[in-house]
């Protein structure tokens, strides 16, 4: 959702980068829009007359029959089953506290609602048309002035009405049941508060729930970007540290001319340079740093001549200070999607790490020479990224706004040409500082004695709502993991510290220490002046050695406004309703040419195909054919080639199928409601778009099939 995993190392790329690095979605969406356009055009060509004859009253009458049939068959009884199930499961649930209990109950209610509405819609819509053809009721419909288009739309609308009725019943139940549970839990919290010491770490949170209840819904402003640094930005640099799981990414989108230059270099056998300019800071070495240095086989060096730098950024007579460990870097070239574009070992010096060479002017850097073959590979793709990772412990590597550029020495009549990242707001796009992922987000290591890992949440244009006491409220939602050996009795809580740097005023707040409960929301207040203007950075670090905390861009969120739970529930039900309409559209489409059991199966394949292929993940990446043929240990090269080719084709077909199939994750009905976050209008908009994109072709496709179908069996 928020990040995507790169193919080989599982590197997480946070939203800003993932937006830049194209994943498969835009291609799939483009293809889906194309399919929609083609199907609509075919529908209009074939059935323009039927479009003109569309009569809302006829459609409503046809839908009314579907609705009446469902109600008189007592389909609504499934809601009673669902309610019973929710009540039983809620009573048996193992919750860690009151907030968790309410969250789980919300999840059960919405899950049950979603399950029954989609299953009911699927079964009703898949069976209706085949049954009407089988028992010949269709004879009395198509012999009336009813177009086949009206029949299809009427059926979709009819089952959409059934879904709405089911969701309405479940919505009333959910709201009522949660109000009862909320009331009971508030009473319990009040009793707990009465016995709680006044200095308890959880007192503020409980007092909040005591006054606001557990069903509050907040509208949140979250960070628009997240960077992981080793220490706060300073001296025009952002920092990462060797020995820490940190790196930065620089994104490139060469213009057509620049790609032509790279291609020419590839053709002419010319090398291309990757120029990296960084600032170094030597830090005191910890015991762990020394261990890592030994493991890396690094030793302090003698002074010596520097490797010549690129023509534009020549470093005159640089020397390596005596007695210091060499500052090494590792590079990767990543394709769109995060997979390796070039094998790391094909990048010069990468086996041992490329060496940073200090210069006299304090602008150390290094040149990575890219072979003509690599230059040709870069020319072949519209975009790529350079990943730069620090290697040497005890060294902080500082990157300015433009730390990496490509240099094509032979271009421009031998003068050379520089290729920079694309412009954003008139300046080259700055690198993103990242860290590898844990299970729930980017890992932030905890250090009680030094600052070594900071998550910087950048807020842009946030809208703080100032309370009467002059504060604004934040929530912290971190996940924690234990790491390493326990050295101290730090207890079960990770202690975090935050600074807020207001970019509008230039002021930095005092340190705010918060002890988040494990894997749970923690609320805290800050003075409104610290976030005035809405452009600020929140810098979060963990002060507990044994605790890793895992962060995402929404880990720290500004509570912009309080919303009603009822309103949020309605939005959630609306998302479920849109999903059910998509299910109905697919099921009706399948039922126009298949018997109902097969129609149900095909509908499920269409609905869950994308999810299934996504679950297969890397197994379908290029190369799977080779892997499979290797597993079979086929001796004959021809056989091996055939198996490999077949598997590759199958994997490719599955990947292609996945991108044109609907993405049910675009109907996120439960997560935000469960977490007490107001569902943004954009989520409804996206769901509506997905419904249009995938539902409309199904309706039109169903019409086209029924239009030419002989309905007399």
């Amino acid at each position: 959702m928020i990040a995507l995993a790169a193919a080989e190392t599982g590197v997480w790329i946070v939203p800003r980068v993932s937006a830049v690095l194209a994943d498969a979605a835009p291609t799939g969406q483009l293809l889906a829009w194309l399919v929609l356009g083609v199907v609509l055009a075919a529908g209009l060509i074939v059935g323009f007359g039927d479009v003109l004859r569309l009569q809302p009253r006829r459609i409503w009458a046809l839908s009314g029959v579907c609705f009446t049939e469902s109600m008189r068959r007592r389909v609504w009884l499934v809601t009673l089953l669902a309610m019973g199930g929710v009540i039983v499961v809620s009573q048996l649930q193992q919750s860690t506290d009151d907030q968790d209990a309410i969250r789980q109950t919300i999840k059960f209610c919405l899950f049950a609602s979603g399950l029954i509405v989609t299953v009911t819609a699927l079964i009703l819509a898949s069976t209706n048309l085949p049954r009407e053809i089988e028992n010949r009721v269709i004879f009395t419909i198509v012999t009336k002035p009813t177009t086949r288009l009206e029949i299809i739309i009427g059926k979709v609308l009819g089952f959409a009405r059934v879904s709405a009725a089911i969701l309405l019943i479940m919505g009333f139940f959910t709201y009522g049941y949660l109000q009862v549970r909320n009331h009971n839990r508030i009473e319990r919290v009040r009793e707990e508060l009465a016995d709680l010491p006044s200095d308890s770490a959880i007192r503020a949170t409980l007092e909040h729930y005591s006054s606001s209840g557990f069903l509050e819904t907040k509208s949140l402003d979250v960070a628009t970007d997240l960077n992981i640094y080793s220490s706060p930005p300073s001296d025009g640099c952002r920092w990462m540290r060797g020995g820490e799981p940190q790196f930065f990414l620089v994104h490139f989108e060469p213009t057509a001319d620049e790609r032509a230059l790279l291609a020419a270099a590839g053709d002419q056998g010319a090398e291309v340079d990757l120029l990296t300019t960084l600032t170094l800071r030597r830090m005191p070495l910890s015991k762990q740093d020394r261990t890592t240095l030994r493991q890396l086989g690094l030793t302090a060096e003698q002074a010596g001549p520097a490797k010549p730098f690129g023509p534009q950024l020549a470093v005159p007579a640089a020397t390596q200070p005596q007695g210091q460990y060499p500052a090494l870097l590792k590079f990767r070239l990543l394709a769109s999607g995060g997979a390796n574009l070039v094998k790391p070992e094909e990048i010069s010096g990468n086996s041992a790490g490329d060496r940073i060479v200090d210069s006299d002017n304090g602008r150390p850097g290094c040149v990575v020479v890219l072979s003509p073959k690599v230059a040709a590979q870069l020319a072949a793709v519209p975009e790529f990224s350079v990943e730069v990772s620090p290697v040497t412990p005890g060294v902080e590597y500082g990157a300015g706004p433009l730390p990496v550029v490509l240099w094509v020495p032979g271009a421009d009549n031998g003068k050379g040409t520089m290729i920079r990242p694309p412009l954003v707001n008139g300046a080259p796009a700055e690198p993103s500082f990242l860290a590898p992922p844990g299970r729930n987000g980017v890992i932030l290591t905890g250090h009680s004695d030094a600052v070594r890992s900071i998550a910087d949440f950048g807020f842009h244009g946030a809208s703080p709502v100032v309370r009467p006491d002059g504060t604004v409220a934040f929530q912290l939602d971190v996940k924690t993991e234990r790491a390493g050996e326990f050295k101290s009795n730090s207890g079960m809580f990770a202690v975090t510290a935050m600074d807020i740097v207001n970019r509008s005023t230039g002021k930095t707040s005092g340190e705010i220490q918060v002890t988040p409960e494990l894997n749970r929301l923690t609320l805290f207040d800050v003075p409104a002046a610290d976030v005035a203007g809405g452009d600020f950075d929140v810098r979060l670090r963990s002060l507990t050695d044994e605790q890793w905390i895992e962060v995402q861009p929404d880990t720290v969120a500004l509570i912009a406004a309080d919303r009603s739970f009822g309103g949020n529930l309605i939005k959630s039900l609306l998302l479920l309703w849109m999903l059910s309409i998509l299910v109905v559209s697919i099921a009706v489409f399948c039922s126009t040419f298949l018997s109902w059991p097969i129609a149900i199966v095909l509908s499920l394949v269409i609905l869950l195909g994308r999810w299934g292929v996504n679950e297969l993940g890397d197994s379908l990446n290029p190369g799977v054919g080779r892997m499979v043929s290797g597993d079979f240990q086929l001796g004959d090269p021809t056989e091996s080639r055939v198996v490999s080719g077949a598997v590759e084709t199958l994997a490719k077909s599955l990947r292609l199928m996945a991108v044109v199939l609907p993405d049910v994750s675009q109907f996120p009905a439960t997560e935000d409601v469960e977490r007490g976050i107001s569902i943004p209008p954009a989520a409804l908009e996206e769901a509506g778009k997905a419904l249009l994109l995938y539902g409309l072709p199904m309706v039109v496709g169903g019409y086209l099939i029924l239009r030419f179908k002989e309905v007399a069996p």
Partner: protein
């Protein structure tokens, strides 16, 4: 006769049913040519598998012809626009069994865009016409007897006041009273200038109401003409005489024999069982009207 004067015009209509692989399976109808003028009650007869159903389905657009064409009231058969002027009673009442009689008619009325006020007037009137009382019309169709199902089926076929009515086995499942009412209704429709295409196995019913018939066999038309002409036995003459005794009858037989007429047969005329049934029921019901179901 111009095309516009014809309710149905069929030219070289052919239907071949294919199997899954597109190979010919059954030639259900072959080169049918037929014209039915407006205002006529026309009977489509034939044994099972003769092509009657296929013809009706082709006229209604339920299936598509392999060759040939058919027009209804001057428009291509199966077009949505012409369905506004057609009423169809299928062989069984293929209706929504979860609706009641009144809801059924309202539903089909809405498909014809009949205004609500007009529907409020037309639905009870039609239910009266087909003989469904106030209690029956509120019952679900799944609870209807076969006869009641035929009646509501007929009502839905007439909801739009059609110009052409296709009736498939309209009297099947009806008791003699219902059968008589159905036949009366067909004749009344004819009197209103409507065209009725009747498809039935009950030849007596066809004979009673149809102006012309055609008989299909093996997908081909075998005969076509006026009912009276087709069933008339022209070399036999029938005399009907009232109030003479056996002696005089014997004398007449001798006389006819002398006239060269061959052996003369003497019988007493019988009424039909239907007439007998109707008379008894009327007498028993006391008011002279046939009781309704």
């Amino acid at each position: 006769m111009s095309t516009d004067d014809n309710a149905v015009q069929i030219e070289n209509l052919t239907k071949v049913y294919k199997d899954f692989w597109g190979r010919d399976k059954v030639r259900a109808l072959e080169g049918l040519n037929l014209t039915i003028p407006r205002g006529e009650v026309f009977g489509l007869l034939g044994p099972n598998g003769s092509g009657k159903s296929t013809t009706i389905k082709l006229l209604l657009g339920l299936i598509f012809p392999t060759a040939g064409r058919a027009t209804i009231l001057g428009h291509p058969a199966g077009s949505t626009a012409i369905n506004e002027r057609i009423g169809f009673l299928p062989e069984e009442s293929y209706l929504y069994r979860f609706l009641n009689g009144e809801e059924t008619l309202r539903f089909y009325g809405k498909l014809f865009k009949i205004p609500r006020r007009e529907l409020n007037r037309r639905v009870p009137a039609l239910l009266d016409t087909v003989g469904l009382d106030a209690k029956s019309r509120k019952r679900k169709l799944r609870e209807y007897s076969k006869g009641m199902a035929r009646r509501i089926g007929l009502a839905q076929a007439l909801i739009n006041n059609p110009d052409l009515i296709l009736l498939y086995e309209p009297t099947t499942g009806l008791d003699p009273i219902g059968t008589r009412e159905m036949k009366d209704l067909i004749l009344s429709l004819k009197a209103q200038g409507k065209t009725v295409l009747l498809c039935s196995h009950l030849l007596a019913d066809v004979q009673d109401v149809c102006d012309r018939i055609t008989i299909l066999y093996a997908g081909k038309m075998q005969t076509l003409g006026d009912v009276k002409d087709l069933i008339q036995v022209k070399d036999i003459t029938l005399f009907q005489v009232n109030g003479i005794n056996d002696e005089k009858i014997a004398e007449m037989q001798r006389f006819l024999s002398q006239m060269g007429g061959g052996e003369a047969t003497v019988t007493h005329p019988t009424t039909t069982l239907e007439d007998l049934f109707m008379r008894i029921i009327r007498e028993k019901s006391g008011n002279g009207a046939a009781p309704r179901p």
